[in-house]
Amino acid sequence: MKIERLKTDLLIIGGGTAGCYAAITAAQNASQETVGLKILIVEKANVKRSGCLAAGVNALNAYITEGRTPKDYVEYAKKDADGIVREDLLYTISEKFNDVTAHLEKLGLVILKDKNGKYVTRGNRNIKINGENIKPILADAVKKLPNVTVLNHVNIFDFSVHNNKIDGAFGFGIENDTFYAIEARAVIIATGGAAGLYRPNNPGFSRHKMWYPPFNTGAGYAMGIRHGAEMTTFEMRFIALRCKDTIAPTGTLAQGVGAKQVNALGDVYETKYGISTSERVYGTVVENLEGRGPCYLRTVGITPAQEESLLKAYLNMAPSQTIRWLENETPSKANVEIEGTEPYIVGGHTASGYWVDTKRATTIQGLFAAGDVAGGAPQKYVTGALAEGEIAAKSAAEYIESLSALRQAQGPDVQFKVAEPAEATIKEEEIANHVAEIEKFLSNEKGPQTTENLEEAMQTVMDSYAGGIKTSYRYSENQLNQAKKEIEIIEKLTDNLNATDLQEVMYIYELKERLTVCKSVIAHLAARHETRWHSFAENLDYPEKDDINFRKYVNSRLENGEIKIILRELTAEGQRNYEHQH
């Protein structure tokens, strides 16, 4: 394995929505100064189509439409999460939704307009776009920036942290047999949330036909957890209500043709359980548990014109649903069955992730978080991830400025100059240790356990004992204890895994990342002694909401190998700023 040392000012880990926009912001800010900030994006796939936007999107779901204000959005997100949000974080993204949208349009995104040139809205907070190519548009914008370098197909698996201050990261090229030790003045983590912790709806051939990108493995969470970063609200899991099997969106059916949620008896049940995101899932769960399932979106009887529009709309965003209709029965002839997905941990929809201050600084000095990896601000969606990318980039740039007033001008041509050992923050020994760990997986004897089997074992444990589909998302303390025990056993087995190439080594690290996140999820689920969000965190020992003791954030931090739970007070009504208490 070749060993390469790189040096940059700002390292962005993950070139998805938030990461790309962070680079665009940081590069533009830097151009106004005399010295260009050197920015490096490291992406484990390729920025052109990586992350949540790979398949494209057909709406921006977080937008301040005419007559509405950012405050309305904050109130909506707060209500949906039953109070457990950070208002400062929600305000700071809501105030930027429309600006980042305008910027995307300038970069080439097609936003639908009416006859008067106004954006076409869908509801109070959404605008319609032709977003199939939204990710290539972002990636192209990044490519044009002279002071940004992109390393594609490089997987970062550890931070370099000394005295709770980050100074770089370690990674490897999954196709070029190269180890990277990257030194940086500041780091933005933008690796997304975590899929694949729980057994999926269809664990066989179609195991990856899931709501969230299966390649988002919680790497950013795991690296932060291991280095003692404070994390928040991992117990607020996200479960999507989707078209059965294809896991295609339901909103287009509900809002496009007005399809109601009905049970097998034909009764409309959607109004019975409440309309928050979690209540919609919960209603479907209860209808099934009480023998009134399967549940459907009622589409039988729609007009041929409506049906044709639906076939086209789904081809545009979730083509598998259209194919399923064409291969089986079309929506005018058969209602569309719906189901909840397996739970995910994703800070763009719920509030799970890094505990950050208003500037998106984590509790590790020099590390900023943006997008699904950052906690506290649910209902973030695409525009919120862009806004956080922007905020994190500005904060990181400020931080870099503050680090050294004597920063010397260095042209982009010396970006990859090998650091002098004397001034290197990453020591040779640290590189050797990381390389040795990778080489151990490549040289381990092929034993009885495989990465794939252990991943399935982990998903089965989480499904059975930590509130997966199997238990209709419910769990008890005894079950969580069992989950913890079994996840720890699986974790020990991962050290003996064998890999034949670096892509397989990446799969081992991804499994380890998921196991780390699983342990935090279990600890958080066990710590919230109430049921505030049905299905998302359905605690059978505490089936009621407890506003007296649990209108609080459940946070955690790894201390001496143990997950320590910290209950923190909610930010005040209308609070615009939050600082870490050091």
């Binding site: 390729n46 189509r49 790979a54 594609n152 036909k209 496009g256 545009n316 194919i323």
Partner: protein, 104 residues
């Protein structure tokens, strides 16, 4: 859901390999693309959209209601054409005008 790559059409340009968000597509010794990890496909269709010779199509696994049809997309006169080939040999095409594609 996963993809299949028609080896007779593939020109080995590597664009599908480059864009796959899971890096699941590799190029073999004959300079042809193949999917190394078919069960790991998310179904994002990035590769299908990138392929300049329409060599890639997708299909639904039987476990999610697939019946053996193959689907790919082409750009024709500014329209996005989706072509569904059913197992009995019949073909259905659906043309979408990008400007009209987002009625819902």
């Amino acid at each position: 859901m996963s993809i299949s790559i028609d080896q007779s059409k593939c020109i080995g340009c590597g664009k599908c390999h480059d864009v796959c968000p899971g890096t699941l597509i590799k190029i073999n010794e004959n300079k042809k693309a193949f999917i190394k990890y078919p069960k790991d496909c998310w179904g994002c269709t990035s590769c299908i959209k990138e392929c300049p010779v329409h060599a890639i199509s997708f299909f639904l696994g039987e476990d999610i209601g697939g019946k053996g049809s193959k689907v790919h997309t082409e750009k024709v006169n500014g329209l996005v054409r989706w072509i569904v080939e059913f197992p009995d040999g019949s073909v259905k095409t659906i043309d979408i005008d990008p400007k009209e594609s987002n009625k819902y």
